[in-house]
């Protein structure tokens, strides 16, 4: 009997990145940081959502792009999973707004998921089960965040805004087919936001070794062992990207080469988009991938957990690439803003 993953694939993908960019130099100047401090993060600039944007509006644009590439009707989607840690409503789903705007309502599952930066990835794993079992034809998975960062916190250099979305369905006709998936979670208090708190807190250096590195490495090693694969079997590898440095280091620790990480590394240009972080990198890989290539995807969420997926690109990908704007389209369409404009746009002005 084939693994459930092998029955499931990606029919459409899409991304969205807001146009405004603030440079690391401007943030550093605001708080008096010296160059060597922020340069250690491996970042250039980060994307900032406009005053009237939120995780729902950004998620919808990414989802519109994914549905366009999938070439399906809204009513064919049987579940909408929306992963975010910056929900516009604490209570009231964003998934229903996106489902309504895409004509997916009313006969559909729809829910918002929370697991820091890997909630959307949980939706992807759940989708594999729902599709492989024959229960649903297509699902829509959306990862979107207007990442919050307390002004002056080191997080402010990286926390940005963006979204990615994927239409999953049966393997037949898919642009990419899953080969295996593996999840590793523990109770690790590396990063959190308490109920009612406007900004998240984190355990400084504790976010690294016992959280990010431990969980990603265990998930990836578990997947490789289960599938009998080695890092050299993959053309591309995408890891969660809290900054420009961590994904490169975890890749090296696992035995991946720089060339395998290059296409999917987007954080230096746009920042850490939280739930969309690894997924925008994955969307960019799909923009460039060739049939037959194998891709490793490993999102991570604090609290903490990581999923690892092995995905093989099919011939169907070429016909879908041009059906919606690419990740590079959004990376290039940018406007520079100042720190004071950033404060205004992210509603941080105290009145």
């Amino acid at each position: 009997m084939p693994k459930p993953e092998a029955l499931t694939g990606i029919h459409g993908w899409g991304a969205y990145v807001p146009r405004a960019r603030i440079s690391m130099v401007d943030i550093a100047r605001q708080w008096g940081w010296s160059d060597h401090q922020w340069k250690a993060l491996g970042m250039i600039e980060k994307a900032v959502a406009a005053y009237d944007e939120d995780a729902t509006t950004m998620g919808l644009e990414a989802a519109q792009n994914a549905v366009r590439r999938a070439g399906i009707k809204g009513e064919e989607v049987g579940a909408v999973f929306f992963g975010s840690e910056s929900k516009p409503y604490a209570v009231k789903p964003s998934a229903t707004i996106i489902a309504e705007a895409l004509g997916i309502t009313p006969v559909t599952m729809a829910s918002d998921l929370e697991f820091a930066c890997r909630a959307a990835s949980e939706g992807m794993r759940a989708s594999i089960g729902l599709i492989a079992s024959g229960m649903l034809k297509y699902t829509l998975v959306v990862g979107s965040d207007t990442a919050q960062a307390s002004p002056g916190d080191v997080l402010e250099f990286t926390a940005s805004s963006g979204a990615a979305a994927f239409v999953l369905g049966r393997a037949e006709g898919a642009a990419a087919v899953f080969e295996g998936s593996y999840t590793y979670v523990t109770d690790t208090p590396d990063f959190w936001r308490r109920e009612g708190a406007p900004y998240p807190s984190h355990g400084e250096g504790f976010t690294g070794e016992p959280a990010y590195f431990k969980h990603i490495m265990e998930a990836v090693k578990g997947l490789l062992s289960e599938l009998g694969l080695r890092p050299s079997d993959f053309s591309h590898a995408i890891f969660h990207q809290p900054n420009g440095k961590f994904p490169v280091r975890v890749g090296e620790m696992l035995g991946f080469r720089q060339e395998q990480l290059k296409v999917g590394l987007v954080t230096p240009q746009i920042g850490n988009t939280y739930n969309a972080s690894a997924l925008i990198g994955f969307a960019r890989v799909l923009d460039y991938a060739k049939p037959g290539e194998r891709v490793l995807l490993a999102p991570f969420g604090s609290g903490a957990g990581s999923d690892a997926y092995s995905i093989v690109i099919t011939d169907a990908i070429e016909g879908k690439k041009g059906l919606a704007p690419t990740v590079d389209h959004y990376i290039r369409a940018k406007r520079a803003i100042s720190y004071s404009q950033y404060v205004k746009m992210r509603r941080m002005l105290v009145k």
């Binding site: 146009r19 405004a20 009237d52 509006t57 409503y89 309504e100 004509g103």
Partner: protein
Amino acid sequence: MMRVKTPPVVWRSRNHRYKLVGSKCKACGEVRFPPVHFCSCGGEVEEVELPRAGRLVSYSIVYAADEESRERSPVIMGLIDLGVTRVVAEIVDASPEEVHSGMQVEAVFRRIGEDGETGVIAYGIKFRPAVG
């Protein structure tokens, strides 16, 4: 301006605001946005999804915006020609210096109002400069 942020209005208008749906007269063919129940010619109307790309015909820049809009001011209101009809909507992702009549714009889904800090959020269509 129409009140956009009460639960019944948000709920009742979600179809045309979320999908850019207008009305088209079955008798004279006139297309309107927001949609109307009956055409001015007396004909019956049907719903039609409008094109999402258009041309900015004219615009007005509001520097002294009301309190609710102040944090996103200056607010740029545009008259957009979609070919089948013209719509009035806010122009976003552009500063006053970047806006000019004749520029190509595309529809985007944004917050169009919110009932204070705790009330309902209204979503709808605005337009941004198109990037080729």
